[in-house]
């Protein structure tokens, strides 16, 4: 179980997240996929931190988690507001910001 195993898991989680963002239509699912991306990054940070014997990466990960929480709160708030307004959170229907 060297560094590579962690990086492999991180890549898998990241890819799932990207796939989800591109394919999913539900706003909540997309937000969850964004969380996956962030967590794959966190995993990388912690893995490299442990590998290098340096605590900086773990501190970064803590920051990142805190920011992810804030971002999720804002994202869900927007979705709630959208749902009240339009009765849907299907992003295909929320596309008036265009030509």
């Amino acid at each position: 179980m060297g560094l590579y195993s962690y990086l492999l898991i991180s890549i898998i989680i990241f890819t799932i997240g990207v796939y989800g963002i591109i394919t999913q239509r539900s706003g909540i699912k997309i937000l969850m996929c964004i969380e996956l991306l962030l967590n794959s990054a966190n995993l990388n940070l912690v893995a490299f931190s442990s590998f290098n014997g340096n605590a900086t990466g773990q501190v970064f990960a803590l920051f990142s988690i805190a920011i992810a929480a804030a971002e999720a709160a804002i994202g869900f708030a927007i979705l709630v507001a959208l749902f009240r307004l339009r009765d849907t959170i299907n992003l295909d229907n929320i596309n008036i910001l265009r030509w």
């Binding site: 963002i21 591109i22 394919t23 992003l91 910001l97 030509w99």
Partner: protein, 667 residues
């Protein structure tokens, strides 16, 4: 000691301008004391410098300003005799007029703006005078023009004032463009001379390319035809600024401004800038070739004829005007014509003496014309109208104004006693001009400028005494309650009256001092210095005789009324109509050239080309529609679907990674 502070002569009024503009409203009298103090300071410094450098000193200070190619422009100060006499006159007259304006403008709600603008004007004019290079001269000249525009349109809510301001600006602009073209041509010519090693011409250290000193040194190397063009273009600028024919029309219209503005700008100081320009660059005018008349440089011939013609032409219109200020405005145009005439005729035969003669008339004119305008202002202040037909009988009510105005009229008409050398300022100055024109006629056989000068002198005397008799004698022609002006207004009148009477006695010293100007600058004028001049008795007497005859004609017609003028003054008399309509100059200038040619033909064509061809054809059908079509296609990229944006972002990142890999061989 004083010459170290020469820059303050300009800077003090500039500071006063800024302070008055922003703080004037909060100060008593609209902050009038700031410009008065500043200009008094300028006057004291000028006087101090004069005492220091008299009789043959020069103050020169120069710093580099910017470089363009291999040549460096500079800013600097040059105080030579020519400049110092102008400095003293401008600061002194400006000071008196500012003091007078405290009384005259006391009821005006916008007086702080007035004082700020006149202060800036004074600064600009002083900067014109002090410039040691033609570029700074031109810039200051333009600032003067802007101030003139602002002050003519001071009562901008009056449509006639706004129109007059616009006219003044546009008409003088014609001259300014010519002047600028002359500067450009001169620069090109100078640069060519310096680049050519065969000329072995170098600008000394501490000197710069467009300095007057460099210009004069380069005169022998300048191509003669080019020199004629350059000087004539300069003269074009002077024609605009000094209201010479055919660009004279703006000056009488400029009387829409407050009377103090007329006195300051359109009589005493600004309009003389044109004469000053010709005097300043006189060595260049004198060096032009004599292709038209033998022995007379072409440029000076043009100056003499334009000046002489203007002197006569404007005087004829002065005869019939009923607006007190308009009579004086035509008088100013006419007197400026005299100054040009002096530069042209005397310049051709007497060399640098012409500068002395012209400047002496310029300065005595500044005194008596400022006085005339201030008296007119005092009258207008008292009776509330500009129309001399509604005045009359004011002598008993306004003694000081009447007497000082009479003195000014005597000076303008050039009344004095020949042979005893007693007379008003105008007597000495105008006499010299007319005698100079006579000698020009003797030498060249061309008596036309002399005839212009003598006839104009007769008309001058008639119109100014007509004005005086109509305003101050006879019965009051209206029921207005008139009174003498307050002492803040009458004291400047008295000071100017003293100068208009006695300034003439400084003439011998003045001529010698100003004549030495170009020698002090090390310029060889190369003009034939005539034999000592001994005109016959009749030539000496003639200017005074025509002056007295003019006075008598005016006295008999307008005071004794031996002639019923109402028969002559009728719309049937074609001559009267021609004069009263100002030779149809407003019609030709404003209506034909301004409206018909410029607006109807040029502007309409421009509009057609712009709207129909450029906008319609080129832009609408070619450029605009192409861009529009491209936009139609590209804007489809903005789908509004979040996933599309996310996909593109991810693709972009992937692409970047690939590129990094290719470029640097590693991630």
């Amino acid at each position: 000691m004083f010459s170290d502070f020469a820059a303050l002569i300009v800077l003090l009024p500039v500071i006063a301008f800024v302070l008055t503009l922003f703080l004037g409203k909060k100060l008593p009298h609209g902050g009038a004391y700031l410009p008065i103090a500043a200009i008094a300071g300028s006057f004291i410094i000028s006087a101090g410098i004069f005492l220091e450098i008299y009789p043959e000193g020069i103050v020169q200070q120069s710093i580099p300003w910017f470089s363009s190619g291999s040549s460096t422009m500079n800013m600097g100060i040059l105080i030579d005799p020519l400049a110092i006499v102008m400095l003293l006159m401008v600061t002194f007259v400006s000071l008196l007029i500012h003091i007078y304006a405290v009384g005259y403008m006391s009821h005006d709600p916008a007086k702080s703006r007035y004082f700020a603008e006149t202060s800036l004007f004074t600064a600009a004019m002083l900067s014109v005078i002090l410039s040691d290079n033609i570029l700074q001269f031109f810039i200051s000249w333009e600032v003067v023009g802007v101030c003139s525009f602002l002050l003519i349109g001071f009562w901008y809510h009056k449509p006639s004032a706004a129109a007059a301001a616009k006219k003044a600006f546009l008409v003088t602009r014609i001259g300014d463009v010519l002047f600028l073209a002359g500067i450009v041509m001169l620069y090109v010519e100078l640069a060519r001379i310096i680049e050519n090693p065969a000329n072995a011409f170098e600008i000394g250290s501490g000197n710069f390319i467009l300095q007057f000193k460099t210009m004069f040194e380069a005169i022998p190397l300048i191509d003669k035809t080019q020199l004629t063009y350059i000087t004539l273009l300069f003269f074009g600028g002077a024609v605009g600024k000094s209201g010479q024919f055919p660009l004279h029309g703006w000056l009488p219209d400029a009387m829409e401004g407050p009377t103090t503005v007329s006195a300051l700008i359109h009589a005493a100081t600004m309009v003389t800038a044109g004469v000053y320009l010709v005097a300043r660059t006189f060595p260049m005018f004198a060096a032009t070739p004599d292709t038209i008349s033998h022995g007379v440089p072409d440029a000076l011939l043009v100056v003499a004829y334009i000046g002489g013609f203007t002197a006569l032409f404007a005087a004829t219109m002065g005869l019939v005007m009923n607006d007190i200020k308009r009579v004086l405005a035509y008088s100013t145009v006419s007197q400026l014509g005299y100054m040009m005439l002096a530069l042209g005729t005397a310049g051709a035969v007497l060399g640098s003496k012409a500068v002395g003669i012209s400047m002496f008339h310029l300065i005595s004119h500044a005194f008596f014309k400022a006085l005339l305008f201030l008296c007119a202002g005092s009258v207008i202040h008292a009776v509330g109208t500009n129309d001399i037909r509604e005045m009359g009988g004011l002598f008993s009510k306004m003694k000081i104004t009447a007497v000082t105005m009479f003195i000014a009229a005597l000076s303008l008409a050039g009344i004095g006693i020949p042979f005893l050398n007693i007379g008003t300022a105008g007597f000495f100055s105008k006499d010299m001009i007319i005698e100079g024109a006579f000698e020009y006629g003797e030498v060249t056989g061309d008596m036309i400028p002399y005839a212009f000068a003598v006839i104009a002198a007769l008309l001058t005397s008639i119109y100014i005494f007509r004005l005086w008799f109509m305003a101050f004698t006879g019965k009051p022609r209206s029921e207005r309650h008139s009174h003498e002006s307050p002492s803040v207004m009458t004291i400047p009148l008295m000071i100017l009256a003293v100068l208009a009477l006695f300034f003439g006695f400084s003439h011998t010293g003045f001529y010698g001092y100003v004549e030495s100007n170009f020698e002090l600058m090390g310029v060889d004028l190369g003009v034939h210095e005539g034999e000592p001049f001994h005109p016959s008795v009749i030539v000496i007497l003639l200017p005074v005789i025509v002056g007295v005859v003019g006075f008598l004609i005016a006295y008999l017609i307008y005071n004794k009324r031996i002639l019923d003028m109402s028969k002559i003054i009728s719309s049937q008399n074609p001559l009267y109509k021609l004069l009263y309509n100002r030779y149809y100059e407003p019609k030709i200038g404003a209506d034909l050239i301004g409206v018909k040619l410029t607006h109807d033909v040029a502007a309409q064509t421009g509009e057609f080309i712009d709207r129909k061809i450029i906008d319609g054809l080129v832009i609408d059908t070619i450029i605009s529609s192409t861009i529009f079509k491209i936009g139609e296609v590209i804007r489809k990229m903005q789908t509004g679907v979040v996933q599309n944006y996310a996909s593109i972002t991810i693709l972009g990142v992937a692409l970047l990674l690939v590129l990094l890999r290719l470029e640097f061989g590693g991630i």
